[in-house]
């Protein structure tokens, strides 16, 4: 996603530079919410303050909103059609395969030590076996992360 935004906002148009886009993208990932929306809002703000932020936000949201409304409408009206359901089933299998492979890639990048593994396992058990609601699980994860890493991060910071 990042190269795409860089291309549109910094290269094809002289709105800002690549570094700014990438910095805001990184910041967007650290904030709650949808990364693409955050990025659009942040860059929009940088360019034109509040109105820019709103414009960026709307620009990000509208295409997806409109196209999905269209597609969802078609989906609902085609419900029950055996061929459509067959096609959807085939799609599901493909998407599942793609999800598995991209998650595997993500896993290799994200779990790099025993602590990471322990964290992932905790999330897994909490959600799958103890059946804690997902929103609470992630909240717990935020809390745990801070508990485990805050002191290290502070130490890293002051070492510079």
């Amino acid at each position: 996603m990042a190269p795409f935004i860089v291309d549109e906002v910094a290269k094809r148009r002289p709105w800002t530079d690549e570094k700014t886009v990438l910095n805001n993208f990184a910041l967007a990932q650290s904030l709650p919410g949808i990364i693409a929306i955050n990025t659009a809002t942040l860059i929009g703000y940088k360019l034109r303050k509040f109105r820019g932020a709103v414009a960026g936000f709307l620009g990000m949201v509208m295409p997806a909103l409109l196209s999905i409304i269209l597609i969802a409408g078609i989906y609902q009206s085609l419900e029950g059609n055996r061929y459509v359901e067959g096609a959807l089933y085939g799609m599901r299998i493909a998407v599942l395969g793609l999800l598995v492979s991209s998650t595997w890639g993500l896993l290799k990048k994200s779990i790099t030590d025993a602590t990471g593994f322990a964290l992932a396992l905790t999330a897994f058990v909490a959600l799958a076996f103890i059946q804690i609601p997902a929103v609470l699980v992630i909240f717990g994860g935020m809390f745990l992360s801070i508990l485990i890493y805050h002191r290290k991060e502070k130490a890293d910071g002051s070492a510079h």
Binding site: P63, A64, L96, A123, L144
Partner: protein, 188 residues
């Protein structure tokens, strides 16, 4: 009207806790839609596949779709606003008052842990999707025969696509479109 308010508040909650990308939001939504009885597991799997195949952030696609199923166009708008407003507001406040919070040790600590933590959540979500996609538990419950639980062709296609996409980095449609066509032919 009640449903609209509920849609908004549920998606708003999700918007606040969605950290770490679209797949996390998928995991959160799966849990939520099962919990509230808004969608069956199969419907959710369908919607995820469609949301993955259409342009736009998957979170928005999912919110719009689920909102639409619940309450038509008003529902889709409300759900989408719900899920995207928290990020918008927080980003705005951050941009205006706080600058680059991703430098703060507290934020870095949280991101560092969550990166690994959410993998566990995503795995659960994918497992749930896999369960309804790869296995026919209803037929199995009746006949108790392994042949009814597993369709070899489904398994083969799934394993093939997983292996191929692990190895080659191609546009997802290369896998999705042929699978859809196969699905129409084999599994209608």
């Amino acid at each position: 009207m009640d449903l609209l308010i509920k849609l908004f508040s549920e998606f708003f909650q999700l918007g606040i806790f969605s950290y770490g990308g679209g797949l996390v939001i998928m995991a959160l939504l799966q849990d939520k839609t099962q919990q509230l009885g808004w969608l069956t597991a199969t419907q959710f799997a369908d919607i995820v596949s469609i949301a993955q195949s259409t342009p736009g952030p998957i979170a928005i696609n999912l919110a719009t779709f689920i909102g639409y199923i619940q309450r038509g166009i008003p529902g889709s708008v409300i759900a989408t606003l719900g899920v995207s407003l928290p990020g918008f507001v927080i980003s705005l406040i951050t941009a205006k008052f706080m600058g680059h919070v991703d430098d703060k040790p507290l934020v870095k600590a949280m991101m560092r842990g969550l990166r690994a933590f959410v993998i566990g959540m995503i795995v659960v979500a994918i497992y749930n999707i896999g369960k309804v996609t790869l296995f026919d538990t209803q037929a199995y419950a009746v006949t108790n025969s392994l042949g009814d639980l597993i369709d070899i062709r489904v398994m083969a296609l799934f394993l093939f696509i997983t292996a191929m996409s692990l190895r080659y980095d191609k546009n997802p449609f290369v896998y999705i479109i042929p699978s859809a066509m196969l699905g129409m032919i084999l599994w209608h």
